[in-house]
């Protein structure tokens, strides 16, 4: 690419092609969605199975899965950071939104446990999933995530009509609809636009 001057058409074409190149490069942010989607889905459904089928007393221990999840997530994040040669406002917004969400989950678990409301945890978790996915969907202009967020909020309210055991299943369904399915759709959309 040299110093050559351009016709207006060539200029517009060049601007468009450079913007498209950047967009393709910034598209793949689904790794963390899928990792956390599957970890939380496995924890919710695993807890339901351990409690109701195996009648295991310490069924909540399945949530210890989030510890290796956090380690893997930090490892992937550090690896990506080394390779990153450009940062975008959307990328940064997504990173801080989900970091804040992770901290909020932890703080909420502490508050509810301390207050003896541990068996009411799932509707609040779904409320947060809804917020995270709705805002992410709006940032990425990806409707399935926006709808996923709305469905998670609806499931949060609906789950209050059922007892704790079934609220776990509502949690698993909310994750499947608001995280996992939209993340696979986003991934295939990104792959399709890369070629």
């Amino acid at each position: 690419m040299g110093e050559a001057t351009l016709s207006p058409q060539e200029s517009l074409h060049l601007i468009q092609s450079m913007i498209t190149k950047t967009r393709k490069d910034m598209g793949d942010n689904t790794k963390h969605f899928l990792l956390w989607g599957w970890i939380t889905f496995a924890s919710c459904s695993g807890q339901f199975i351990l409690k109701n089928i195996f009648e295991f007393e310490k069924h909540y221990l399945v949530w210890l899965l989030v510890i290796p999840g956090a380690v893997i997530s930090i490892f992937i994040g550090m690896k990506d950071e080394k390779k990153r040669t450009a940062t975008t406002y959307i990328g940064d917004s997504m990173k801080y939104l989900w970091m804040g969400m992770g901290i909020s989950y932890f703080v909420l678990s502490m508050i509810l446990t301390r207050m003896g409301w541990g068996t009411n945890v799932f509707p609040f978790f779904m409320l947060l999933y809804g917020l995270g996915t709705f805002v992410s969907g709006k940032f990425l202009q990806f409707k399935p995530l926006v709808y996923g967020g709305l469905i998670a909020w609806a499931l949060a309210i609906s789950s209050t009509f059922f007892n704790y055991d079934y609220q776990m299943l509502f949690g698993a369904v909310a994750i499947l609809i608001s995280y996992i399915i939209p993340a696979y759709m986003l991934r295939s959309k990104n792959k399709a636009t890369q070629y």
Binding site: M1, E3, A4, S11, L14, I15, T85, T87
Partner: protein
């Protein structure tokens, strides 16, 4: 009525760099080099011209003991880029 095209932007490589920087928060020299397929020497010269015009900020630092050059578009650069696109449209739709 045709509007005058900004001579700083109306050059292939400088326009490519500005188009890349308008879509990101900041980018490394290596990112710009890879996307534009320009030589390091030519890219450096054009980046300096954009910097002298006040359209971009250039920060030189070290990342894990390696020198790193980071470029970021300035508010003046954003205004000029927008004005350039408006001017281009006046050529595309002279009656518009």
């Amino acid at each position: 009525m045709f509007k005058e095209l900004d001579p700083i932007l109306h050059s292939q490589l400088r326009l490519a760099v500005m188009s890349l920087l308008i879509s990101v928060k900041e980018a490394e020299f290596t990112f710009l080099k890879e996307k534009t397929n320009a030589t390091a020497g030519n890219l450096s010269v054009q980046i300096n011209k954009l910097k002298e015009a006040g359209y971009i900020e250039v920060v030189k630092q070290f990342k894990e003991n390696y020198p790193q050059t980071i470029c970021k578009i300035t508010p003046k650069g954003i205004d000029s880029f927008e004005a350039y696109v408006v001017a281009l449209h006046s050529y595309m739709n002279p009656n518009g």
